[in-house]
Symmetry: C2
C-alpha cells in the first residue's frame, strides 16, 4: 500500500468544503479559516486505543475523526479541514481494509462538512491514525479554554456519563453483553462517540468560563480544568447523570456505577465551568441536557463527594499511555 494508493483513494472521495482553497495533492493545503483558527492532533493506535478484533475499520476511522472533532467542540469552534496521517500495517491489510477505513474517515468528515485537505500515508508494524483537525472560531466568539474558571462556578456536563467505559468492558468481555439490555448502545458509545459541537459553541458563546471534553474521565478532566484555572474542585457523585445500562455493567464487574461514571473515559461529553446564574440560560440553548455535577473552589486538587462526604477512588480516570 503506497502513498499513491492512499492519496488517490482519498482524492477520489474528498470533497472540497468551505474553508479550503487548495486541498489534497499539493505540498500543503491552502485554507481560509478566518481571523482565529483552531488546530489539534490526536492519535489512535492499534493495541493502545483500539483492537481490530473488536472494532470495525470503518468505526476506527470514524472515531479517529470524532475524537478530534471533540477537541474543536471543546474550544467552541467549527471544524473545517483535516489532515490524515495513516500508518498501514505491513502485513494483513488489503485494499478492502483501506477502503473500509477511508469510508469511516470520509463519512465522519462529510457529516461535519470537513475537507480532507492532506496528510501522509506510510507503512508500519501496526495500524495508527494521527488526525489533525483544523477549525475556525465564529467571529466575536471567545475560545472556551481550560483556564478561565472562577471560584463558585458550577461544573456541568452535557450528557449522561459512563456509557463508553461500560461499553469497553462489554467489548473486552469483562461483562456479558447478552445479560445487559442496553449493551448495543453502550458499545456504540465507546466505538462511535459523537462530538458535542453544538453544545461547545453555545457554551463558548453564552458565558461558560471554561470547558474541555471528557476524554479520560470526568474526575481526571475536572482536575485538569481546575488546575489550569488555579483552583480546586468538588464533584458530587450523587449528581452525576448515569447513562442507561451502566448500573448493570458496573454491578457485573463489581464497581460502583457512580464511580464508573465519574472516572470512566471516552464519553466525549463536554465539561464546563459556568457561573450559577448562567446555567439555566445556556441549558435552554442546548439540544441536550446540561447537568451540574460539582463546583470550583479556591485551593487545589479534586474531591469526590457522596452523601455530602468525601470518598476516595482508586483512580481519577484513564492516564493515557
Amino acid at each position: 500500500v503506497t502513498e499513491r494508493v492512499g492519496v488517490a483513494q482519498i482524492r477520489a472521495t474528498a470533497g472540497m468544503r468551505p474553508g479550503t482553497e487548495i486541498g489534497i495533492g499539493d505540498d500543503a493545503a491552502v485554507l481560509a479559516l478566518g481571523e482565529r483558527s483552531l488546530a489539534c492532533h490526536d492519535i489512535l493506535i492499534e493495541g493502545v486505543h483500539f483492537r481490530r478484533e473488536t472494532t470495525s475499520l470503518e468505526a476506527i476511522g470514524r472515531k479517529a475523526v470524532a475524537v478530534n472533532l471533540s477537541d474543536i467542540a471543546a474550544m467552541g469552534g467549527v471544524p473545517r479541514a483535516m489532515l490524515v496521517g495513516l500508518t498501514i500495517p505491513e502485513h494483513d491489510f488489503g485494499a478492502d481494509d483501506l477502503a473500509a477505513l477511508y469510508a469511516g474517515i470520509e463519512g465522519a468528515a462529510a457529516a461535519h462538512e470537513v475537507t480532507i485537505a492532506g496528510g501522509d500515508t506510510t507503512s508500519g508494524p501496526v495500524l495508527a491514525l494521527g488526525v489533525t483537525m483544523l477549525g475556525a472560531l465564529p467571529p466575536g466568539c471567545p475560545p472556551l479554554t481550560r483556564g478561565g474558571a472562577r471560584p463558585g462556578d458550577l461544573l456541568c456536563v452535557t450528557g449522561p456519563l459512563g456509557a463508553a467505559a461500560a461499553g469497553l468492558m462489554l467489548l473486552e468481555g469483562a461483562a456479558d453483553p447478552d445479560r445487559v439490555a442496553d449493551a448495543r448502545t453502550l458499545i456504540d458509545a465507546h466505538v462511535a462517540p459523537e462530538a458535542r459541537l453544538v453544545e461547545g459553541r453555545a457554551l463558548a458563546m453564552y458565558g461558560a468560563h471554561a470547558g474541555l471534553d471528557i476524554s479520560d474521565g470526568l474526575a481526571l478532566d475536572a482536575s485538569r480544568l481546575a488546575a489550569e484555572s488555579g483552583l480546586g474542585a468538588v464533584i458530587d457523585l450523587d449528581a452525576i447523570p448515569i447513562a442507561p445500562g451502566v448500573v448493570e455493567v458496573a454491578r457485573a464487574v463489581g464497581v460502583d456505577a457512580d464511580v464508573l461514571a465519574a472516572t470512566g473515559g471516552e464519553d466525549y461529553e463536554l465539561l464546563a465551568a459556568i457561573p450559577p446564574g448562567r446555567v439555566a440560560p445556556i441549558a435552554r440553548r442546548l439540544p441536550r441536557s446540561l447537568t451540574p455535577v460539582g463546583r470550583l473552589r479556591t485551593g487545589a486538587g479534586i474531591e469526590l463527594h457522596r452523601g455530602g462526604r468525601p470518598v476516595s477512588v482508586p483512580s481519577l480516570g484513564w492516564e493515557r499511555p
Copy 2:
C-alpha cells in the same frame, strides 16, 4: 512515558512565537495565521524513514520538523506553528531519549520561530513522529502550487542534488565513508536537511509558475509537477548540479552520478517551473544557486536526456512505502 511527561516536557521548552494565541495544553491551539493559512503533515517512522542505529534521536527530531518546513517552503509560505504527534516505543526508550528527541524538535522549531502549539503522545511498537506544520502565505503572495506550469517553462533547482542519497548509502554501509572525502557533508545532507524557505518565498513572489520540494527524487517529483500541470517534461542529466562527493559514492556503488542525482530522494531542494525570462531575475533574489535542469512541454510523461538523447533509468525515484 505518559502523555503528562510529554506535555510537561514540551511545555517547559515551547516558546510562544508569532501567530499563536493559545499554545500547548488546551483542547486545541488558537492561531492567528492571516487570511490564508497553509497546513501539511508528514510522518517519519522507525524502520521506514530512519533507523535509530544510524541516526541520533536529536537528528530524527530535527528532520521530522525539517521535512514539514520543506512543504511550507514549497508553497512559498512562512511556518508559524506545529503539532507534534509522537509514538514512543514501549520498551527501550528512556527519559534521556525523550529529552534528546525533543531537543531536536524544539531546536528546529526555535530556529524558524515556530511554536509547538500542541499534539499528542502515545506508546507503540516503534518510534514514530507525525508532525503537522501550519504556516501563513505572505499577504499578496500567491501559493506556489504544483499545477501552474506552462509549456516552455524551465525546470530549475535551488541547489546541487544527490547528496542525501549518497549520504544514505554511506550510512547504510553501501560505500565506505573513510574513502570519501566529503562523507560527513553527504551524511549530514541525509540526516539534517534544511528547508529552502527563503527560496520558496522568492519563487512564489517573483513569478515561478509552479513548484514543489524534491523529497523523492528530481525525476519523480518533476513527473508529478508535470502531471499536475497537464504537461510532460524533459530533464537534461548533463545540466544537473551534482553535490560534492556524490561522484565518488556513485562510483563505489556502481551507478552513474548523474542518475543518482536525478533519482535520489530527500535532497529537499525546491524544483520550480519558471518562464525563461524570469529565471535570471529570480536567481538574483536567491541566496543560493538556481539551475535550469529541464523544461516542460505539451504531452505527458517524463524523459531523461544525456548528450541530447533519451536514456532510461531503473526507477524515477523513491516510491514511499
